[in-house]
Every structure is written in C-alpha cells, then in structure tokens.
C-alpha cells in the first residue's frame, strides 16, 4: 500500500514587494486550503520585478485568474495601457521600429503573412513590417480600446499590457492578498534555520527571536534570494550575451496630456535607456556596461538564472530566480509565470524530486528563451561603438543560433516550449532590426506578387480606416474610471 504524503498546509512568503504579495494572493485564491504568511521585507533596489512600470500582455491573464478587474488594476491602481515599445538607435541607419503586441498582418494564400512581406521587402517594395500591426497604428495615433470584433478584423487580434504606478499597484496587491486571508508578519529576518538531516528550511528566525515555521518557503526577496541562497545556489551566467551590468533608475511625475501607449528603449554608446509612463508616474532608467561606460555609478546587475529555482522546500520567484535587465519588460512576467507554475505544480509535503525537476526544467526553458529574445536585440544591433560591436560579435547561445539560422534561410521560425514571446514578437524584432531571410518560403510562389501587394495594401488601409474611430487613450481611461466609480 502506498502512503500518500500529506498536503502542504503552511506557506511562508518572504518579500513584501509586488512579487511577494502577488504570490500570496494567487496562492490563497487558487489553493484556499493553504495558510499563507507574508514577511513583507521591502524590496531592494535591484528587485526589478517590484519596480519596473511596463508589463507584458500576460499580466491581463494573471489578473483574470485572480478575479481582479480593471476597476482595480487600471482605474484605482493608476495604470495605463501599453501597446509595445519603440526601439530607437539599435541599428544605425535604419529607422526606429516598434515592437507592438499581437498580430502583424494575416496569413493569406498558402503562407503566413510575413513571407509575403519578406518577398516584397527583398524586392524593395515593402512598408515597414509594423505598418501591418494594428497595435502599432493605435499607439502612434494615441488611441486605445480593448481588442474586439470578428476574428480576422484588425481590432480583434492585437494585445496590450499595462504600465503600472508601482506604489498603487503594490497597495492593491497587498490589500487583495490580505482580503483573501493572507497574514502579514512584519519584522526583519535574522536567520534561515535548516533542518539537520534533510537540509530543508525548518524555520525563518525573526529579529525579535520568534521562529516562523512553514512547509513551503517562497522566496520573493529579489536577486539576493535571502531564503533560497541559504540552501546554496548556482547562477547560470548570461553576461556573454547580455553585456549590461549596471543600471540607474529615477522617477518623476508623468507629463501632462495623453499617457503614452509605447515606452521607449533607446540605444546609447555603452548601453541603452528607457522611459515608461503611467498616467501618474514616469520612470527613466539606463542600462550600461560599467567597463565601457567608464562609470561605476548605479546598481550592479549580474544577469543570469538560478540553476534550480526550486530546491527542497524553497522556491525562488521573480528576480530571486531570474536576474535579467528590463529590456522587453520580462521581470514581473517571469515572476507571474513562476507563481502560476507553482500553483499548477504544487507538490505534497514529500517534495517529490520528479515534480521539482519538471518545475525547474520548465522554468529554465522559459528563462533561456527570454535570454535568447533579449540577446537577439544585441546580436542584431548595428552600431559603431565598441560596446555594440562586441555585443554583435558574440557567439549566440545554441537555441538562438538555431533560431537565427532557420530564420535567415527561409524566414521560418522554430517551435520552442515555454516561449514568452510568440512568433509575431520574434518577427517584429528580427525584421525591425533588419535580420532578413536570404529567400522567401517557396510556399508563396503560387501567389503572384501583385496579389500579395493588393492584399497587403488592403490590410494597411483596413487598419488605417479603423484607427480614427477608436477613442484616445485618455478617453478610454476616463470611460473606465466612470464605470468604476462607486
């Protein structure tokens, strides 16, 4: 007879930033049997998932799963919508491009849309690739509405993320987690006590002498990984491909007028800088290589992923598991993804190694593909500065080399599990930075180029015709605000 291990009952979450409270909320909401205690340690300045304003589209699903509506996550939390990022100066001599979310064009004839575009571009007859993105068109016009309409129409297939006002969003998540029954236990952590035999975490000892025991410890303390590091950890270093190793960040009030739908990421001689703005708050930041910039200011950032985010009874979430620059805004997304995975794969109290192994495998695959996508921005850069020349000359990691090779041949993209960025995103950056296939896919040879051209023109005019009817971003926020009034 098999004895079933008892279920996990008590969870302790260390970290009182957005990540910690989001983890607590999700655990209580989706596994109500868990008793969740949060030790709200303030997030350190390198905990980017707790600080970055710009968020990717899946945050909407995260909110939906929690049952949070836009009345809270947008209106009361002071968030704005966002449709993508404008990349400036990454390839000198080419115009800036926008990585906008969701569909770019639509497949017709026998092949996917981008093959038609590639054929036209190789013939020198294509508009910018993001001219076929409804999100990019809306963003440029400062207009926003939720995706809607019959499938196949331009306003049905785009995606959007949010730009947060972190203090307010943090307040929301904390209030929500407490509402769901999480318990807050303030204080500083003095020591992590391990059990002699198993090497598991037995308790977290607080500065006031009390010990907080739990079955499972969730480490949301940022890159220092206060709990998880007590079990020893190894970092897979990404410095070869992601050469920035410091950052600075400053906040200020948002500009008056329409809140922007695009944030910007502009290349600089030894790194890049960003600007994001919610309706209430703007942040500007710079990423750079200390050696190339000849500067030692800012916060150090060693990029990479923890080899085993989940070890024994401790799982690292967010920046405690993956330390990555905010390019493409993956920090909070990876935290959410870790939380979702933890909920979906919650083991029993025996912490069966097979289950943990699969958690770690999925987490590693996901993180590595994020690394690939970010590394693409550097590898496909074209700038004369030494920093950029070195970055572009780096040997790509094998999975990215595979992707690039396949794409350069005939514009095809490989399939990887756990991709954060879908085909449209890869295409937006590849084609936006000028990575071109040598030839188009033979599948489209049956469609005459002039049919392609007519269909592409129809797509462009379809988008152009719909944009003026969409309300401005501010007007949409105002409508939501009216609906949310209580």
């Amino acid at each position: 007879m098999t004895v079933t291990a008892p279920p996990i009952g008590r969870v302790l979450v260390a970290g009182g930033g957005i990540v910690g409270w989001s983890a607590a909320a999700a655990l209580r909401k989706r596994i109500p049997a868990l008793a969740v205690t949060v030790v709200p340690l303030p997030p350190p300045e390198d905990a980017l998932a707790d600080r970055i304003q710009s968020c990717l589209p899946p945050i909407i699903n995260f909110h939906d799963d929690l049952g949070l509506t836009e009345a809270d996550t947008v209106v009361r939390a002071g968030s704005g919508f966002r449709l993508g990022t404008a990349f400036e100066g990454w390839t000198m001599g080419r115009s800036a491009y926008v990585h906008a979310y969701g569909e770019h064009g639509r497949p017709f004839g026998t092949a996917s849309f981008h093959q038609h575009w590639v054929r036209a571009a190789l013939a020198g007859e294509a508009e910018a690739f993001n001219a076929y993105s409804p999100a990019a068109a809306l963003a440029r016009a400062g207009r926003f509405t939720h995706p809607a309409g019959p499938p196949g129409t331009p306003l049905a297939g785009f995606a959007f993320g949010l730009t947060l006002t972190p203090t307010r969003y943090h307040h929301l998540m904390r209030a929500f987690a407490l509402h769901l029954g999480s318990v807050e236990r303030e204080g500083a952590i003095a020591r992590v006590r391990l059990a002699g035999e198993s090497g598991c975490i037995e308790a977290v000892e607080m500065a006031d002498g009390t010990a907080l025991e739990a079955d499972l410890f969730v480490d949301a303390t940022g890159p220092r990984a206060l709990l998880r590091s007590a079990l020893g950890l190894r970092l897979e270093d990404w410095g070869r491909w992601l050469p920035c190793d410091r950052f600075t960040m400053a906040e200020g009030p948002a500009d008056a007028g329409e809140p922007p739908l695009l944030d910007t990421a502009a290349a600089e001689p030894a790194g890049w800088r960003w600007r994001s703005a919610s309706p209430l708050l703007a942040t500007e930041g710079r990423l750079f290589s200390a050696a190339h910039a000849g500067a030692a200011e800012g916060v150090p950032l060693r990029q990479g992923r923890v080899a085993q985010p989940w070890l024994k009874n401790c799982v690292a979430i967010g920046d405690a598991a993956v330390r990555v620059e905010p390019l493409e805004w993956t920090n909070l997304h990876l935290a959410h993804s870790g939380i979702d995975r933890l909920v979906a794969m919650m083991p029993a109290r025996d912490f069966n190694p097979v289950e943990l192994w699969d958690y770690n495998r999925q987490a590693a695959t996901e993180a590595d593909r994020v690394r690939d996508f970010l590394a693409l921005h550097y590898l496909a850069s074209e700038r004369p500065d030494p920093f950029w020349r070195e970055a572009a000359a780096a040997e790509p990691p094998p999975s990215l080399a595979h992707t690039l090779a396949l794409f350069r041949a005939r514009g095809r993209l490989p399939f990887y599990e756990e991709e954060t960025f879908g085909r449209d995103a890869w295409l937006a950056v590849l084609l936006g930075q000028g990575v071109m296939p040598r030839a188009s896919d033979p599948l489209i040879d049956v469609v005459p180029p002039r049919d392609s051209a007519a269909a592409m023109a129809a797509l462009r005019s379809g988008i152009a015709g719909l944009v003026p009817g969409v309300p401005s971003h501010a007007a949409t926020l105002q409508t939501l605000s009216r609906q949310a009034a209580r």
């Binding site: 209106v75 939390a77 307010r168 307040h171 929301l172 209430l280 009216r482």
Partner: protein, 514 residues
C-alpha cells in the same frame, strides 16, 4: 431649564455640516439635560469639496473656543485673504474680491465714492490697491493682526482654506469630547407622528431605533428627513444659476501657497483653485446644458498645475433652497437645506449661520411656530442675498465666446438684483440690508471688477476738497503698501505658527474593496 427643555437632539449625517452642528451643540446645549446623538454611516461618502471659507468662521471657532493655530494645523489649512477672479468681465481681465474694507471713509463719505470721483480726475490704480487684504495677497504675505492693530493692518481680514474631510474629523473629536454620542449605521426608516408628521425616531439597518425631539438633517442633497419624510419642497434657481455639475480634482503643487482662492472663468464654466498646505484643491463648475462631463473634465485637466492626487470626483446638484429650512421638528443644514455653487465660498457659512440662528431661536418641546417662521425667514433672506451676489458674477459680463455666457449675460435677473445694479450704475450707491453676508466692499469689488462703472458719484462727495481727498487716498495707498511689505510671507507664517504636524501626508492611496 424646565419640563419643556428638549432632551434628545439627533443629527442625521456626519459630513462637515453634521459635525459642525454637533460641535456647536456640544458647547451650547451643555445643560446637563439635552443629549446630542449623531448618526452617520461609513458606507455613505460625504461631499465636502468646500475647502474655502469666509471670515465669519473665525467667530464660529471663537464661540467654540477652538485654537485657530491648532485648527489650521489639523486641517492642512492655509489663510485666505479673498478671491482672485480671472476672465469674468471679459477674457484677460482680473479683479480681486478682498475681505475687509477698501480704504476708510472720510467725513462720513464712503471710500468708494471718494474713489469714484478721483477716478474721474485722473488715471487710478485698481481699487484693490486700497485693500490691505488684497495688497497682502498680491505679495503672498499674511499675518494675523492683533486686536490692537491700527489702520491699515486692522483691515487685514482673513478666512481659511482647509481640507473639509480633516475639518469634520477635527470637529468630531471636539464634539465627542463634549459628550456627543456617535452612532454608526445607515438609516432605513423614519417614523413620524400621524397627526402632524413630527419625526419621532429613525431606524437603522441594524434594527436599532434612535428617538429624538429635534432632528437636524445633515444628510446631504437628498434631505432624508426634510424632503424624504416631510416633503418640504425645493425652490429651483437653475434659471439664474444654470451650473448643475462639478468635478473636483486635487493636485500636488510646488512652491508657496497663495493666501487666496482663485476662480477662473472658462468658456463654459469656471474653475476653483484652493491652496492647502499639502495639496491644491481644484475643480470645475459647469452646466450640463452647455457642456458635457467629458469636455468639463478635459477643460479641468488642461488647466491644472500639478499632478492629480486622486481620481476626479463628480458632483451633480440643483442650485436652490429648501422651501422650509425648518419643518415640523426637523431643521435642515448644509446641502440638505439648499446649495449655491462655491463661487464665493459660502457653503460652510450657510451651515455656520444656520447653527448660530438655530441656537438663537432654539425651540423647546412645544415647538412654538413663531421661532420656526423667524428662522425660515432669516435663512431665506440669506440664501437669496447670496444668490443675487453670485448671479451678478455671471450676468455682469461682456463675454460672448459661448452660448453659456450669452445665456448668462442676457437672462432675466431677480428684481432685487436689478434694483441694486441700477442704484449702483447711477451714482455708485449700495445699501446693506438685514443680515447680508456680503457687505459694501464685496459689491464694490465685484461691480467694478466685472466692469459696471457708475455714471456718477454721490453729490455729497463734492463737499470735500479734491486735493485733500487725493492726498488722503495716496496716503492710504502707500501706508497699505508699506505694511504689506513688512508682513511675513504666507508660507513663513504657517511654518512658524500652524504647520501641519509631521511631513505632509503622501497622496492618499485608493481604497480597494473586493
């Protein structure tokens, strides 16, 4: 005190009005017999956008023995020397409606008459140059004149800007210390005596019943008792004052707080700007007939100096007054008794004045109708006087840039106002009547400021020698200017005497209710 003394007073609603009444009763009904209960519900929000006041509030504070510095510190308050009106007579024009007087009279002749004659002889400074409050305001300066202050400092009259929510909290502490009992709960029923409709008790959602002999209805616009139970009727003044909407939006601001309120006329409404210690109160008042809510909010947002600290708060109202402020054993106060837009910061004054009059005419259990009728007469007069003064601001304009202003400029006005304007227009005559809130200075400032210049001055002025008068006017003007220059700045005065405790609170985080 006898068997007729009222034993139980019940205040319904705990906004600014409710707690002002509770605080005053704690002081003036402290006879050992009369019990005061205030019923309010946390569920029901309060309106409380009225953050600016007029000088009589000083009297209210003194009556209650409230220390002014403590009061200002507790409410993030600042001092107000008057209101600057921008774009009212015509786009680009400004004038200042100061507290206190313009200059001083000479040999029994009103200052403004002297000014009007002198103005025919030479090019004159704006009349506000003779107002101590206006000149101090223009220089961003303020000090509290002591009782021994002579001219011109004695003419520095002031009022307050404050956070109405904090004010209610401040008064609540005062009232509860004074024995007022607060009951938390939402009122679900009003029980009336069959024969005469007198309210005997109110029932709460919890089932609890609260009995009283006198009820003070501070339940806001809806008038739970005065209208809901007693159908007292409402006199609608929208014809003369078409504004029926407001949006309030506090913002951050840097720099020093101005010691005055600003009221800026836009194409289809007007905007208030009220500096507090920790934020700027802003809002727009408009008529839904002439501007929709979106355009109003956009207009407001386009004219803000700082960053919003909260979501816009929308208010809808009907300007007018309850036909019977006091009906049966219910006295309405605050919004329950009527509403006139905050252009001259009168909302809190109505409450204060209603309380003072009620204390002066306080009934006993027999409810002699004479007291009620006198109260209602005085309240009606006060509402109508203020109404006329506000109408003047809209009607006396040369603006022609929207249907809104064309309507206001050409609408018929109350006879009482028409008569007053005609008297002024002829020879600059003004007569203060009864308990009028706004005295000569106010009418002179508004009439001249909005471009109504009398054709002539009073013949009595000609008994005074022109050169001597010119000299006296010049002396007054320079004396005021000289004193203003020696006052501390408004910010210095606040920092020294009544700065809010601790660092200014961070912008309030939104309330999440799941």
């Amino acid at each position: 005190m006898n068997e007729h003394t009222i034993r139980n007073v019940v205040i319904v609603g705990g906004g600014t009005a409710g707690w002002m009444a509770a605080a005053a009763f704690a002081r003036f009904l402290n006879n050992g017999v009369t019990k005061v209960t205030l019923v309010e519900s946390e569920e029901i929000g309060t309106v409380g956008v009225g953050e600016a006041t007029i000088p009589p509030l000083i009297t209210f504070n003194r009556m209650l023995g409230i220390n002014e510095n403590e009061f200002v510190a507790a409410t993030q308050g600042s001092f107000k020397l008057g209101i600057e009106f921008v774009n009212w007579g015509a786009v680009g024009e400004r004038y200042f409606h100061p507290f206190g007087s313009h200059g001083h009279d000479l040999e029994g002749v009103h200052f403004h008459q002297l000014y009007l004659r002198e103005r025919k002889r030479r090019v004159m400074e704006d009349i506000s140059a003779w107002s101590m409050s206006a000149v101090a305001a223009a220089h961003g300066r303020y000090a509290r004149p002591g009782p021994e202050a002579g001219f011109p400092l004695s003419q520095l009259f002031y009022a307050f800007h404050f956070d109405a929510g904090l004010y209610a909290r401040f008064l609540r502490a005062y009232a509860e210390r004074g024995g007022v009992q607060r009951v938390e709960g939402r009122i679900t029923g009003v029980n009336q005596r069959a024969e005469d409709g007198f309210v005997q008790s109110v029932t709460l959602a919890s089932g609890q019943t609260i009995e009283g002999e006198l009820f003070i209805d501070c339940s806001g616009f809806r008038g739970l008792l005065i209208e809901g139970a007693l159908n007292s009727g409402y006199e609608d003044w929208t014809h003369w004052l078409p504004a029926d909407r407001a949006i309030a939006l506090p913002t951050t601001y840097q720099g020093q707080p101005d010691p005055f309120t600003r009221a800026t006329a836009h194409a289809k409404g007007w905007q208030w700007r009220i500096p507090l210690q920790h934020r700027m109160g802003n809002g727009i008042v408009y008529s839904s007939k002439f501007m929709d809510d979106d355009e109003a909010l956009a207009t407001l947002q386009a004219n803000l100096e700082g960053e919003p600290l909260a979501e816009p708060r929308r208010l809808a109202f009907t300007t007018g007054r309850r036909k019977l402020t006091w009906n049966a054993n219910v006295v309405s106060m605050g919004l329950a008794s009527g509403f006139i837009e905050p252009l001259e910061s009168t909302s809190i004054h109505f409450v204060q004045s209603g309380i003072a009059k009620l204390i002066a005419l306080f009934p006993d259990r027999r409810f002699n109708p004479v007291e009620r009728d006198e109260y209602n007469r005085q309240m009606r007069d006060m509402f109508e006087d203020v109404r006329d003064f506000i109408i003047l601001h809209y009607n006396a304009t040369r603006r022609d840039d929207s249907d809104f202003w064309r309507y206001c400029r050409t609408m018929t006005i109350p006879d009482s106002l028409a008569r007053r304007v005609a008297l002024w227009k002829a020879k600059g005559r003004l007569f203060r009547e009864g308990y009028e809130v706004f005295a000569t200075t106010s009418w002179v400032a508004a009439m001249l400021g909005q471009g109504i210049v009398p054709d002539d001055y009073e013949p009595a002025v000609d008994a005074l020698d022109e050169e001597r008068v010119a000299q006296a006017l010049e002396q007054m003007r320079t004396a005021i200017l000289d004193v203003a220059g020696r006052l501390p700045t408004h910010a210095e005065f606040i920092a020294r005497t009544c700065a809010a405790q601790g660092p200014a609170p961070k912008p309030p985080l939104p309330e999440f209710v799941f």
